[in-house]
Subunit: 80 residues, 4 copies
DNA sequence: TCAGATAAAATCGCGC
DNA sequence: GCGCGATTTTATCTGA
């Protein structure tokens, strides 16, 4: 088996891993859609739920960034 | 426990399911990034791999659509 | 002057407007870079400044989203 | 007013300049979006317009690079 | 089914 | 030159 064949197999392995993961990701996206559909069927306004989820996500991000900048401040002050 | 409280719990349950799923989705997205990083470390050009993945995804969609239309034809012909 | 020629002129006008605006945008991006460079020259850590800017931007976005969801709530309650 | 206060004011000034510029940049980005919307309303396919803009931008870059290399040649020949 | 909004992927550009 | 963040482009999704 020559080098190109080996490379091809190697590349193929990467492609398969990626495509496998992307499929899983798509499946989860579908699950999320289903939850929204279920919530809607229960009488909730999905637009509001999406907004709440979005705000909570931003909270988490903001908290993470604030911790990060605290690290930067401490590091800048030589407190490491 | 009044109705609003019940609703709040119900809503909370939906939020938790969604956020749990979104976290899983993010984790998988990170895994994908890692695979690309590993491929890059092995000497592959990630831009090319992305192109290949994208093309194969399109192929898969095309195949699915063609099967779908074949079903439609067969169904129209009463061959179901 | 036929229709195609008219269309071509119309399209050309759109292209010119877009390209003019993009040039302005690029100029402003350069200005921002210069401010960072100046701040760095004054002894500031640009990484920290970027982080502060980012956090403040998120604050603004979050505030906007919270107002938006308040509207949604009020609207859902029939208080419009 | 102690040194920290002075620094704080200095930093604040940088932040304000940056945020002012970023706001202008965002405004221009919005203008661009509006032009695309207008073009779409006039019946143009924005995807195609984006492609044209992109190609023309590449042409411009190419031309700039060619001029640059011409300068280098001339300079190497002592024709400055 | 379509436009408009939202989110994801790809690309670009910067600082280190 | 590489990672990383921002931007931009593409794809997906929802509600009318």
């Amino acid at each position: 088996m020559n080098t190109n064949a080996v490379d091809a197999n190697h590349l193929r392995a990467f492609l398969e891993r990626i495509e496998r993961l992307e499929e899983e990701k798509r499946a989860i996206a579908d699950d999320i859609k289903e939850v929204y559909a279920e919530a809607k069927g229960t009488g909730y306004d999905t637009k509001i739920i999406r907004k709440i989820v979005s705000i909570r996500r931003q909270d988490a991000q903001k908290r993470a960034e604030e911790e990060e900048i605290l690290e930067l401040y401490l590091s800048a002050l030589g407190v490491e």
